[in-house]
């Protein structure tokens, strides 16, 4: 392969939009959780559990986790893109990041529904 600078992968917009939207989701979730905690719903294990195990809260928490992972994916990948130059190592790091994040999301889902 000749060593030329190549740009033009067409996912710039998609990732940028995803980062904005997942950012908004995380802000909303943080607000919801703060309100719940301010109302004392985290004061005892039982009240905290009933909060987190409620259907709508499970849904929100899961969406939050997915947003967090997706947001982190774009951010971390940007770091690899900026600071790691050899394409092979970069690809491996991308794949490892992606696998770790998918694993975390699955693990989190398991925790949420075990409550």
């Amino acid at each position: 392969m000749v060593n030329r600078k190549i740009v033009g992968a067409h996912y710039g917009l998609k990732d940028w939009l995803a980062q904005r939207i997942t950012g908004v989701v995380m802000v909303v979730y943080t607000l919801v959780l703060s309100v719940a905690l301010l109302q004392g719903m985290g004061n005892s294990y039982d009240s905290w559990r009933s909060l987190m195990a409620a259907g709508p809260m499970r849904f929100l928490t899961f969406i939050f986790i997915v947003s967090l992972c997706w947001h982190a994916w774009v951010g971390i990948r940007d770091i690899w893109m900026d600071y790691v130059q050899p394409a092979g190592i970069k690809l491996v790091l991308h794949v490892l990041t992606l696998l770790a994040l998918i694993g975390y999301a699955g693990w989190a889902a398991q925790v949420i529904w075990r409550l």
């Binding site: 740009v7 033009g8 067409h10 917009l13 998609k14 990732d15 940028w16």
Partner: protein, 238 residues
């Protein structure tokens, strides 16, 4: 005539002679007819004629005398000498992030490469009308704040994203120019222009740090133009 002595600390580097760059202390006497930093630089050249810098129009039109002045990019010919406090040396360095050719002169190749990559010219395949391609006054209005760019590179060389990826990120000046043609109703290549920028580096390496807006000597706002390009891409995609 009142005179005043200005102290300078100037970045010096002649790759043919110097092992590495150094800062030189020089003093120069200016009088009340010397109003801009460029006037003082011209006098400085009389004190030490080995100092190299670029300049041409001396009125903020050609964009050639962009420097890093006390840590901030700007044009020597538009910087008032009265803005410098007495007793503190004025620190002059070349624009950051570009290779230095000599002293205050940088190699702008990379900057112009990015500028050319956005095709900075009108693309319209219709046969030209007898007189000129017309626009409504409202459509023309959109080009204000875009066409005035003098390509001085003050913005791009103060942008951390451009420092790190000068070969992949177009930079604020190039993106401002890109939007100038995307916004032009006479241009027919809008889609190709958006395609050209829709990758993770060329446009989206802008993280809205807004250093570019802060330094533009023409008072332009590349960040706003970049935001409008993003808006257009979103509109196109949904």
């Amino acid at each position: 005539m009142t005179t005043r002595t200005l102290q300078f600390k100037i970045y010096r580097y002649d790759p043919d002679q110097d092992q590495k760059p150094y800062m030189q202390d020089v003093a120069v006497e200016v009088d009340s007819t010397d109003r801009k930093l460029l006037d003082a630089l011209v006098k400085l050249k009389a004190v030490d004629d080995s100092i190299a810098f670029r300049r041409s129009c001396r009125e903020g039109v050609c964009g050639s005398d962009a420097l890093n002045i006390n840590g901030r990019n700007g044009l020597a010919c538009l910087t008032d000498l009265s803005s410098f406090p007495d007793g503190k040396p004025i620190v002059l360095r070349p624009l950051p992030g570009l290779p230095v050719i000599r002293d205050l002169i940088v190699d702008m190749t990379q900057f112009f490469k990015q500028y050319h990559s956005i095709k900075p010219y009108l693309i319209n395949n219709d046969p030209p009308p007898e007189r000129e391609r017309l626009q409504s006054p409202e459509d023309r209005e959109e080009l204000n704040g875009l066409y005035e760019c003098i390509l001085c590179a003050c913005c791009s060389t103060s942008c951390p994203s451009f420092w790190w990826n000068p070969d992949k990120f177009v930079g604020p000046a190039g993106l401002l120019a890109a939007y100038r043609f995307i916004a032009d109703t006479r241009d027919q290549a809008t889609n190709e222009r958006l395609d050209n920028l829709e990758d993770p580096y060329r446009l989206f390496r802008c993280h809205t740090i807004m250093n570019c807006v802060d330094v533009c000597p023409k008072g332009l706002n590349p960040t706003k133009a970049i935001g409008k390009i993003k808006d257009m891409m979103v509109k196109r995609a949904i």
